[in-house]
């Protein structure tokens, strides 16, 4: 059983925003809505690090826990999705999310908060897979086409990985072994738990 995860290798991420733009392109999200962002720590100083962040599709998702309308569901592959028809745009999920993933497009002319929008792991939503309806509400459903999230597939340095947790952690593990450092992973514990099996072994590198 595939368990879909994202993983960003900060040793490779160069803050090029390819992921952010690939997402905008694939789902045609409007101005002001970025399902994915690139965050920089220590900008302009030695040790500067960047990582790409979106919904981490948590194993124990806080958004899901707090949603008053219970509009979230988790697919068999571990992708956290929601039904926009139920969403009331209350923003509670935004407060709960440790990664700031939920976004609220402006709706109407008075700046009301629209229905929540977030990364779908390119898996659409509860509408018919590949339908226009699904595309308009949630963007393209690549998983149903046998493809993986475009942000990771287009990553300029293959820093951002997406797919089956076992597969991508193996890819990452190989790199970490070669460099002999950088085994720590941003946000992995936060999203997937400290005892999650796929966390790569520490290589005694920087912390």
């Amino acid at each position: 059983m595939a368990r879909m995860k994202f993983l960003c290798d900060s040793e490779r991420c160069i803050e090029c925003n390819g992921c952010v733009t690939a997402c905008k392109n694939e789902h045609e999200t409007p101005w002001g809505i970025s399902r994915r962002r690139v965050v920089t720590l220590g900008d302009g100083k030695p040790g500067e690090k960047t990582i790409s962040v979106a919904c981490m599709h948590c194993s124990d998702a806080p958004c899901m826990a707090v949603c008053p309308t219970d509009c979230f569901y988790r697919t068999d592959e571990g992708v956290v999705l929601h039904d926009k028809d139920l969403c009331i745009g209350c923003g509670y999920c935004f407060y709960a999310c440790p990664f700031g993933a939920p976004q609220f497009p402006q709706a109407g002319n008075f700046g009301q908060r629209g229905k929540m929008d977030k990364c779908t792991f390119c898996a659409g939503g509860p509408e018919k897979d590949g339908s226009d309806e699904e595309y308009k509400k949630y963007g393209r459903n690549r998983l149903a086409e046998g493809k993986l999230p475009l942000c990771a597939e287009m990553c300029s340095t293959k820093a951002l990985l997406a797919g089956d947790a076992d597969v991508i952690s193996e890819i990452f593990r190989e790199r970490a072994l070669r460099r002999g450092k950088g085994g720590e992973l941003w946000g992995w514990k936060q999203a997937y738990g400290a005892d999650g099996a796929p966390e790569p072994a520490k290589q005694g590198g920087k912390t």
Binding site: M1, A2, R3, S59, D60, M64, A65, C67, T69, D70, C71, F72, Y73, T75, D76, E77, L81, H82, D83, D85, L86, A123, G125, P126, E127, K128, D129, G130, N141, L143, A144, E145, G146, K147, L148, A152, E153, C155, K158, L161, A162, G163, D164, A165, V167, I168, I171, E174, R175, Y192, G193, D195, G196, A197, P198
Partner: protein, 65 residues
């Protein structure tokens, strides 16, 4: 002791998918189709194989040592 044994058993069962039991409100929205239905004729194994193969495109070591 008994509790510990139970815990260990639970861990063993769930370890494979690194899943932890959770209790949240039940989803109340529309039912989503399985991702392998629309384009893979419901053949889950075929879909998973396709994704697994595609995943290796993110690993340039497959093409350059």
């Amino acid at each position: 002791m008994k509790t510990l044994a139970l815990l260990l058993a639970a861990t063993a069962v769930l370890a494979a998918c690194s899943e932890r039991p959770q209790s949240v409100g039940d989803y109340r929205g529309k039912t989503d189709a399985k991702p392998y239905e629309a384009n893979f004729g419901g053949d889950k194994a075929k879909w998973e194989a396709a994704l697994r193969a595609r995943n290796q495109n993110q690993n340039e070591y497959k093409r350059a040592e």
